[in-house]
């Protein structure tokens, strides 16, 4: 009952943030938001529906995706530090995106761009899994190394590319919702929805998997299969996010920690709450990034780092008992 109340409260916060984010911005709306529903003419309507709506909706959708991805990543690597950025997925997606744009194979925000990001994210995670020694921190360290290589490769491609649409290193590394439009959202949303469904389906098995690989096998859940499934889910969640807004730091790491503090470790429950809390944090961060230093906009990833990293340190000190490391 308490959890249901919490869930509904978080949903209410999202609705309020949604409304606030549509209203607040550099352009002061002359028309009440209510009167703009269904209208597409005039500066106010264009500002709300073509500029702010994709950003706000995108922040909610991508925040939810990153939160859910964090839960899956930490679950599958049985490590509280695992997050898509650390285990190669984000840099894989970045490289996948940049590769097709820089070679002229696809435009930024196109479906091919997203598909390439999903594919490279999955391949990067598989590569990490293939190369990592199956013990201790080997996985994370291999992930960090592979990430560094892929990020460097992406950087080289940007540097030598003549394509103006390839974006800057800063965009890919620090993330920004500024480029989001309704068209891009329409392309990435189905991938992310698939990612949500796949993540939800794997979640119960992740509870069993958390007892260890041998235990998992003894209980009828094949570790290899579950890892592959989780990696596909992660690629579907992270690929589209990175291809549309770049890398957004710390969300995937922070959100699961907050969620376990609130609702305990069960993966299925953690998923639904992570989606909401991830959405709230990214909506807040986006609102802050475009309003704090108007008319300048701060890259979103910088803000999530500035808020996320200290919050994570505080959380870890508060609740070390939520996760025991045996490494």
């Amino acid at each position: 009952m308490k959890k249901l109340a919490l869930y509904l409260s978080l949903l209410a916060v999202i609705v309020l943030l949604f409304i606030a984010s549509l209203r607040i911005g550099i352009i002061h709306l002359q028309t009440p938001l209510w009167d703009l529903i269904g209208k597409h003419d005039g500066i106010d309507a264009t500002t709300v529906w073509d500029v702010r709506f994709p950003r706000v909706f995108g922040a909610a959708l991508l925040g939810a995706a990153l939160g859910v991805a964090g839960v899956i990543a930490q679950g599958i690597f049985r490590n509280p530090l695992a997050e898509p950025t650390l285990i190669g997925l984000t840099s894989g997606a970045t490289l996948g995106s940049i590769a097709v744009i820089a070679t002229g194979a696809a435009a930024f925000g196109s479906r091919t761009n997203v598909e390439s990001a999903v594919l490279f994210a999955g391949l990067a995670a598989l590569l990490v899994q293939l190369l990592a020694p199956n013990k201790g921190l080997g996985f994370l360290i291999t992930g960090i190394a592979i990430s560094a290589i892929l990020t460097a490769l992406a950087g080289v491609m940007i540097s030598i590319s003549a394509k103006p649409g390839v974006q800057s290193l800063s965009f890919w590394n620090f993330g920004s919702l500024a480029m989001l439009n309704n068209q891009t959202l329409k392309i990435i949303a189905p991938f992310i929805e698939l990612g949500f469904i796949s993540a939800f389906m794997v979640s119960r098995k992740l509870d069993i998997y958390s007892l260890g690989e041998n235990s998992s096998h003894y209980m009828g859940v094949k570790p290899k299969q579950i890892r592959l499934w989780a990696i596909i889910s992660l690629a579907l969640l992270i690929g589209p996010a990175v291809s549309a807004v770049g890398a957004i730091a710390f969300l995937g790491l922070l959100v699961p920690h907050i969620v376990r503090l609130l609702v305990g470790p069960s993966h299925r429950r953690a998923l639904s709450f992570s989606a909401l809390i991830g959405a709230i944090i990214l909506m807040l961060a986006d609102l802050a990034s475009r309003t704090l230093f108007q008319p300048h906009e701060i890259p979103l990833g910088l803000l999530t780092s500035l808020i996320g990293a200290p919050a994570l340190i505080i959380l870890l000190r508060l609740r070390s008992a939520q996760w025991v490391s045996h490494d």
Partner: protein
């Protein structure tokens, strides 16, 4: 019946198990003993399917486990590993409900009571003593509905009373199932075992 036939297992060219034969039938409680390092835990991992034999075969109820899906193996045998690592702070109650209802033994209440878990159902598994964690780990394995139960060193962190309760529970379970306990020290509590297999 679990039938281990002519089983050999080499690890990095070192012989761990050499042409081993053993059977476990329903209705018996068997002690598998032997000093440290003779391959008792390895044998359990082989029967559990996480290790593959170098040669020989393992069948459960007539089917070679190498031809069975992991999911189907888990319906026939349940294994409590020597050490189960709890990384997430589930409550004891939660961790005993990880398997879906239809795959849980009808003996759940008896198992929980015999293992002394009633009072700690709401406690976090990560905050329990080693002995309590071991009993939770055994409960996880015993709650899984199967024909055969294989427990690796289940007494190692238990006091006298807990061992007696556990043996009594296993004697109850073996009425319908086959149970094998792996232990390196054969103490005085083992009169309830039907037979002992010594690995050398």
């Amino acid at each position: 019946m679990i039938n281990v036939k002519n089983l050999s297992f080499y690890r990095e060219n070192r012989v761990v198990l050499d042409e081993l034969d053993l059977q476990l039938e329903k209705g018996e409680l068997v002690l598998l003993s032997g000093s440290n390092g003779v391959g008792k835990s390895t044998l359990l991992q082989l029967i559990g399917g996480v290790l593959k034999p170098t040669s020989g075969e393992i069948t459960i109820n007539g089917t070679d486990i190498s031809e069975m899906k992991v999911k189907d193996q888990a319906l026939l045998r349940s294994i409590a590993p020597q050490r189960r690592i709890f990384t997430l702070a589930y409550s004891v109650g939660e961790v005993l409900h990880l398997l879906p209802e239809k795959r849980r033994s009808f003996n759940v209440d008896l198992i929980i009571e015999s293992l002394g878990l009633v009072e700690i159902m709401a406690s976090k598994v990560t905050e329990l003593s080693i002995g309590q964690q071991q009993r939770v780990s055994l409960a996880i394995a015993l709650i899984q509905e199967a024909d055969f139960y294989l427990l690796d060193e289940p007494f190692s962190a238990q006091d006298e009373d807990s061992v007696l309760n556990l043996v009594a529970l296993l004697a109850e379970i073996k009425k319908e199932k086959g149970v094998m306990v792996v232990s390196h020290n054969t103490g005085t509590h083992y009169s309830q075992f039907d037979r002992e297999i010594k690995l050398t």
